[in-house]
Amino acid sequence: MLRINRIKIEITTENGIYGFDTPFVNGLNFLSSQENTCGKSSILEAIYYCLGLEEIIGGRNEKVLTSVFKTTLEDNTSVWNVLQSCAYLEISNGKDVVTLYRTAKMTNRDSRMITVYYSDMDGLSNPDTLADDKYVHFPNSAINPKGFHYFLEKFLFLELPQVIGSDNTQKKLYLQLVFSCMFIEQKHGWSDLFSGMPILGIKESKKRVIEFVLQLDTLKNEKKKEDLKINEALIIEEWNKCFDSLQIMAAQENCTIINYPVRPNVLSDIDVERIAIQNDGVLIKKEIENLEKQTSEIQKLKPKVIDNFEELQGELSKTEESMTELDGYVSSCQKQLLIEKGNIKTINENLETIEIDLTNNKDAARLRDLGSELQCNFAKDVCPVCHQHINDSLLPKAADIPVMGIDENIRHLEAQQKMLKFSLLSHIQRKKELEMQINEINDRLYKLRRLAQTIRNDLYSINESYSETVVYKKITLKQRIDGLKKLQMLLIKNCKELKILSGRWQIFLEDRKQVPKNKFTALDKEKLDLLKEKFIDNLKLFGYRSIHDFDAITISEESYLPLFEGFDMKFDSSASDNIRLIWSFTLALLQVSVLTSGNHPTVLIFDEPDQQSTIISDMKSFFEKILDLADYSQVIVGITIKDGDTKKAIQELPENSYLQIDVPNKAFKKK
């Protein structure tokens, strides 16, 4: 919340210092005078100015202020030149009090500088008071810690959202925009809702301001959707990574993975247990058991050569047999590989030819177009001599065979190119597979050769020596078992990870479900309905007469502004009813924000709300309504009490429920 506690204006002239100093209270404040041109607006302008919000009046820096701040000051009949002018504003956020100081005219001080004193106005003379210089209307002053609006945002505990600018970049919503729906300025504030809103390059700024003030979830929703998308991509990526690491390891051990869910899923325990690794159709667990059995069998063998000569003989022939088999397989694979390589080469050459053909054909098409621009007959497939139809071909005897036109020819070539590219891809894939297969077989062959060699060594060695075969076999078996065990460990680890990911996926799915399909959450709908209800209540209370059918009033879901039968309400309103509309909507925004704990700073300024000779009883209802809200808001009303009616309306309000600040004939008095 924002409270304006006190304002003090000091204007130094040739005739000494003139000034104005007044406190404000919570609730309703009248800034009243008997006559026009007394200086009420100058005082209200000073409030905007000290808050760095003068853009609501229509410009930047001191140039928007009245002449009393800049050039001359009238005192009765004499006119004095202004030498220096400045204003102090004491504001509070309900907890802390600070005093803002900004000059309008002062040599050696930039009017864009606002000094923040961390104390109330009386404490300014205290030398211990901390002071901090801040800037307004500088690039990035809304996001730079040295910017005054950055300070004000933090001071008011607001968290301004990022919105989309007209150049499609993310920008912070500006405070000037937010306050333009709270401070209704006298000159153009009364022409339309938020008509004082400055143009600062934000798309649909009125809409964004209302969203912010009512704290609608629409902005949050959009952000949430974006977050969910990122989360989804993240889970999918990790899921795939899990699979890939397992896949690589399994390929190294000549194994395949089965029952692996390729896409993220919510997995039950059974699903996870079903994921397994196979080697030639045998589960890896079984394979390990088998291998271990083999190891123990080998251990039973007597390590001496003499003891198992027969077996060695048999094994050697078996090994040699499988080696021959594998050799044959490799050579057939290599033959295929050669063929594939040849195919790839041919296709690449064909593709090159087609590419040249294509460019030339395209050139030919353009040449034909050029020819038809020059009114040449051949370009229209017409013979230049007999003007009969001819085929666009220089080949002999083309007459009785239909010939493709150039455009058709281009399409034909493009289709060919596509086909060749596709076939090229499949050949490359096949080549890769073959190479992998050959590598794998070579690996196995290498092992077998080693085995054969050790067996041979054994066979030719002295009978009493230790059998190399047994040792070699033991080592290879051990390596294989180690590899498989490692693979199994990885599988278990990845399964655990998958389980976690599946949990995250479930949360993601739930989150996604919670994001409302519609633009509005139920709470948003409630807020908008409340806004409509309060708005219509206010309209009735203030005597809005242009429309009789109040049920036809809606709050637009697009702009959040009031509509009557689908059209902007101001078109149906008389001039005085337009004023009532502004009262009603401005107050309704405050009411809804207070009831639903929105972001409204709960301060309103109305400068001369009695525009267009509003009926005085309606005016009174307006004041009474403000008094209703007095407990949790501050409203400053600048008003001219020219006639008895207005005076009566104010006097009839309960006593002590408001503060009336009388501005004398000329606000700025000599001190």
């Binding site: 054909n361 050029l370 370009a379 013979c383 071909s393 493709m404 058709e408 020819n409």
Partner: protein
């Protein structure tokens, strides 16, 4: 009656001939443009003989041939190139002459008409059009003269007469 339903043995099978693709080299518009370019880039004011046109146009068919021709031209055509004659060039020339793009002079030589010149200028203005042809032709430029052609023709008479 049963036979009528057996389409394989029916005598009423009709084949629709599908349009055949034509290589770009045999497109009228392409060939005319190519010939016009040759006349524009490789010939002087006195016109161009038919043999020279054939020689360059056929060589343009493949990169190797045209490179060879460029090399031979730079050597002053000491080594006599093989000249192939393509009937497609003649056909295209006929179209071009009838269209008024190319004019045949009284001495039989060919040259571009004013219309043909505007056509070539139109082509040249579009920088990415017929880039390959332009590149090669500018390398030959006017390197092949009519007197060289005459010499080649005389050589044929002496060398290749089998008697």
């Amino acid at each position: 009656m049963i036979m009528n339903n057996n389409y394989l043995l029916s005598d009423k099978i009709i084949f629709d001939s599908k349009p055949i693709a034509v290589p770009y080299n045999y497109r009228i518009s392409y060939k005319i443009a190519q010939l016009s370019l040759i006349l524009y880039i490789c010939c002087g004011r006195s016109g161009c003989s038919l043999i020279k046109l054939h020689m360059i146009s056929v060589a343009l068919g493949t990169d190797q041939e045209i490179q060879k021709l460029i090399k031979q031209t730079n050597d002053g055509l000491v080594e006599i190139p093989v000249v192939r004659f393509d009937p497609a060039v003649n056909r295209a020339l006929l179209y071009a002459i009838m269209e008024g793009i190319i004019i045949q002079q009284k001495d039989g030589k060919l040259k571009l008409s004013p219309l043909g010149k505007t056509y070539v200028i139109c082509i040249i203005k579009q920088e990415d059009l017929m880039q390959r042809e332009r590149c090669f032709l500018s390398k030959i430029s006017t390197g092949i003269t009519e007197s060289m052609i005459q010499k080649i023709m005389t050589d044929w008479r002496y060398k290749n007469v089998a008697n």
